[in-house]
C-alpha cells in the first residue's frame, strides 16, 4: 500500500473551530410547518406530484425527478399540503417549494422494501438510490444516481468516501461517522457494488482520530480501507482528495471518473445505506449549527424543510447578534440574510459569526506578494488573473484555465490587499461559460 501521495499542492490551515465536535446528534423535534423546496439539487427542479389540500405521509413522494439530472423529493412528516409556492434558497434565489402543515402524528408511509444488497443487482440498487432522492450531501447536491452511472467507456476502479470535513467549524460528518459507522461502511460497500469496484477508501483528516480508529475497527475484514490525511484545507475537494489518495490528477475540465474514481460524501453513503437496507428515502440529514454567538452549538438530525430560525432556536438562540449567518462552512458557504431559508439535503452546517470573527475591509490593488500563487491548490495565479479579469479580459482568463478554479477561497483567505479574488474568478467563469454557450448557439 503506497502512502506516498498524502499531500496536495498549496492549501491553507484556517483555525479549525470545531466546537460542536463533542455534541452528539440529537433528532430535532417536530415542527408545525415545513417548507420543502422542490429543487434541493443541481439540475432540473422536481415536479410536484401533490396538490394543495392533499394529505401526505412521512416519506411519501411529493416531487418526482423533472429530468435526467434531477432528484425525487419526499415529505419530511405527515400532514397536509398547505400550498405549492416558492421559498427563499440559501443562494438568495426563489425555489419552488411544497409548504407542508404537520398533523403532529408523524405517520410513516409504507416504506420501500428493504433490499438484500449483496445479492441485489447494481441496476436494482441504482433504481432505489434514485427513488430515495439521494443527492451528494457534502454540498454540491449532485444527484447520486447520475454520478453512479458512468458512461460505459469509463472504467471506475476506486471509490473514495469523503469524511475529510476540511471546512472549519463543521462537525456533522464527524459525528455521523462516530455514531453510525456501520451505516457509513455499508453505504460505501453498496456504492462499490453499484460501481463494480474493489477498492474503497474512506478518507478522514487526522484531526478526527476517534473517527479514524472507529471506522478502521468496523471496516476490518471488508474491502474498505480507512486512511488518515493531514489537516489541510481544501483536502476534501474532489480533485485534491483523489490526488492525495491515489496520485492521480483529474485532467483540467475533467471529472473524477476520468481517472477511474468516484468521490462520495460519508453522509451520502449513510443515506444510501438507509435507502437500500431500510427503504427509507432521504428526508432528513445531520446538520451542524454552530458559531460563537449561539448559546448551545451542536449537531442535529433535521427534517428537510426546517427553517434556519428553528435550527437556531434549538441551539438555544443567540447571546449576541451575529454579523454573518452562513449556509455551509466558513470557506465555501453562502452568507444568507434570512432565517426563513429551509435546511435542504446538502446543508451541512449553519454557521453564525460574530463581529470580531468577520473581517470587513477595503480592497486595494494587488501588491503581487505571491501568497495566492503559493496557496492555490489548483496551481493557478489568482492575483494576476484577477487583475486581468478586472480589465474584463475574459478570453485571456479562459486561456489561463479560469474554469479550473474550484472556488475554495484559499487565495482570498490570505490576501493582504483584501482583494475579492473568488468573486472575480466566479465572474470570469460565468462570462466564459456564457461566451461558450453563445458560440455553441451560433454554430447550431
Amino acid at each position: 500500500m503506497t502512502k506516498k501521495h498524502l499531500h496536495f499542492y498549496g492549501g491553507v490551515h484556517p483555525q479549525e473551530s470545531k466546537t460542536a465536535s463533542g455534541a452528539a446528534i440529537v433528532s430535532a423535534p417536530l415542527l408545525a410547518t415545513y417548507v420543502v423546496p422542490l429543487q434541493q439539487h443541481i439540475g432540473v427542479p422536481a415536479k410536484p406530484v401533490v396538490a394543495k389540500g392533499d394529505k401526505v405521509l412521512r416519506g411519501q413522494l411529493i416531487g418526482e425527478p423533472g429530468g435526467f439530472i434531477s432528484a425525487a423529493i419526499h415529505a419530511p412528516t405527515s400532514g397536509t399540503v398547505k400550498e405549492i409556492a416558492t421559498c427563499l434558497g440559501p443562494a438568495g434565489n426563489q425555489l419552488p417549494a411544497v409548504i407542508l402543515e404537520s398533523d403532529g402524528d408523524d405517520l410513516a408511509a409504507e416504506p420501500m422494501p428493504a433490499l438484500d444488497w449483496p445479492n441485489a443487482s447494481p441496476d436494482e440498487l441504482k433504481k432505489r438510490i434514485a427513488e430515495a432522492g439521494i443527492v451528494g450531501m457534502g454540498g454540491a447536491a449532485f444527484p447520486s444516481v447520475v454520478k453512479l452511472s458512468p458512461p460505459p467507456n469509463k472504467t471506475i476502479d476506486t471509490l473514495i468516501l469523503n469524511g475529510v470535513e476540511c471546512e472549519p467549524c463543521l462537525t456533522a460528518d464527524h459525528r455521523l461517522m462516530l455514531e453510525k459507522p456501520e451505516q457509513v461502511i455499508t453505504g460505501a460497500r453498496i456504492t462499490a457494488r453499484v460501481l463494480g469496484v474493489k477498492r474503497v477508501i474512506i478518507a478522514i483528516e487526522e484531526n478526527k482520530p476517534d473517527a479514524v480508529a472507529l471506522l478502521q475497527e468496523k471496516a476490518a475484514g471488508t474491502e474498505v480501507e480507512v486512511r488518515s490525511l493531514r489537516v489541510r484545507y481544501p483536502q476534501g475537494a474532489e480533485k485534491q482528495l483523489i490526488y492525495a489518495l491515489t496520485g492521480r490528477k483529474v485532467p483540467s475540465g475533467g471529472l473524477p471518473m476520468d481517472v477511474g474514481c468516484v468521490v462520495q460524501n460519508v453522509g451520502t453513503a449513510s443515506a444510501i445505506c438507509e435507502a437500500v437496507c431500510e427503504g427509507k428515502p432521504l428526508y432528513e440529514r445531520v446538520t451542524t449549527v454552530t458559531g460563537s454567538p449561539l448559546v448551545a452549538p451542536g449537531n442535529w438530525r433535521f427534517r428537510v424543510g426546517t427553517p434556519y430560525a428553528e435550527a437556531i432556536k434549538l441551539a438555544g438562540g443567540v447571546k449576541v447578534d451575529p454579523v454573518k449567518i452562513i449556509s455551509g462552512g466558513p470557506m465555501m458557504g453562502m452568507a444568507v440574510y434570512s432565517l426563513d431559508i429551509p435546511i435542504m439535503k446538502n446543508c451541512s452546517g449553519i454557521l453564525l459569526l460574530a463581529a470580531d470573527e468577520v473581517r470587513q475591509y477595503e480592497s486595494s490593488p494587488c501588491i503581487r506578494c505571491g501568497r495566492c500563487n503559493d496557496t492555490c491548490p489548483m496551481g493557478m495565479m489568482p492575483g494576476i488573473l484577477s487583475v486581468q479579469i478586472e480589465k474584463e479580459r475574459f478570453e485571456l482568463a479562459e486561456q489561463w484555465h479560469v474554469l479550473d478554479c474550484i472556488e475554495c477561497g484559499c487565495c482570498a483567505y490570505g490576501c493582504p490587499a483584501g482583494r475579492p479574488l473568488v468573486q472575480l474568478m466566479r465572474r470570469a467563469k460565468g462570462e466564459v461559460m456564457a461566451a461558450r454557450k453563445a458560440k455553441a448557439a451560433k454554430k447550431a
Partner: protein, 337 residues
Amino acid sequence: MTETTVRLPDTTRLVVSSSPHFHEDASVRKIMLVVIAALAPACLAGVWTFGLRALWVLLVCTAACMLVEALCVKLQGRASTLPDGSAALTGLLLGMNLPVTTPTWMCVVGAVMAIGIGKMIYGGLGYNPFNPALVGRVALLMAFPTALTTWVAPLASPLQWAGVDSVTQATPLGTPWAGEQLFSTWELFIGRTGGSLGETCVPALLLGGVLLIALKIIRWQVPVCFIGTVAVITGIAHLAAPEQVAPPLLHIMSGGLILGAFFMATDMVTTPLGRMGAVIFGVGCGVITAVIRLWGSYPEGVSFSILIMNAFTPLIDRYTAGKPFGVISHPGREVKL
C-alpha cells in the same frame, strides 16, 4: 425551554458577501510595517557609523516621500494611501541608499523622483514596474554624481554631525584593487567603512533579512541566488586575476549588495511572483551586478542590476508560470489507471 427566552439573530444587521468568510489577519500595512521594522537595525547601525546626520537624511527622505505621495493622491482625487506604509518604506530605503552628506534639498528631489516618477505616475502601489526607492537613487546619481559618490569616513562618535569638513574616504569598491584589502574583514563586516548610510553594517542587515524570510514576507531564493551569483563570478575572476580583482568576500560585504539582495530585489510589486522566478531574478541581478563591478565604469552595480531585472519581471512571470493542476503537459498521454 420557553419560546420567549430564546433570542433570534437580528437579520437586518446581517452582512452578505461572497465566500470565504474566514480571512487570515494579513494586510498590506502589516507587511510594510514589518519590513520597516526589519530595516530598523541597519538604520540604527547607519546612525552609529555616520552620526546624527544619517538620522536626518532618513527622516527627510521618509517625510518627503510621504508628503509627495499625499500630494499626488490628492491631485488624483483618491483617498489617502499613506496608511498602507509603502511611502514611508520607500522613503526609508531611499535614505539608506544615499551618502550621509547628501544635501537636504537633494533628498527631497530624490523623494519626488522616487514617489512621483517611480510610483504614482503609474497609478501607485501595485502598478509601478520599477523599485521606486532605486528610481530615486539612480536619478540622483545621474544628476548629481559628485554628491552621490562623496563618502565620509565613519565618525568617531554617533553624536557627531557629518558635514563638508568631515574626512572623506573611498569605499572598498571605489578603490582600485591593488592586491590587498584597504579595510580589515571585521571593519567590512560591521560596516566601519565609507558607503551609503544604510548599506554598510552586514549583521544588522542580515538580522532584518532573516526576520523577513522567517515571516515568509520575502523568498530566501532571491538573496541567496543574488549574493551567491556575485560570489561565484567574482570568485572565478579573483582566481583568474588575483592582482586585479578583489576577493568575493569583499564583494559581498561592501557596496549595497546585502541591502539590495534582502530588501530591494525582494520588493513584492516589482519582482517575480513564483519561486522559480525568484531564482531567475536573483541570478540575473547577480550577473549584472558582477559585470558592472568588474568591467563597468561604475564601481557599484546593485541598483542598476535590480532596475534592469525589474524590467524583465513580467517576462519571467510569463515563462515561469506553471501549468495548473490537471492541465496535461503531454497531450495524448493517457492517464494510467
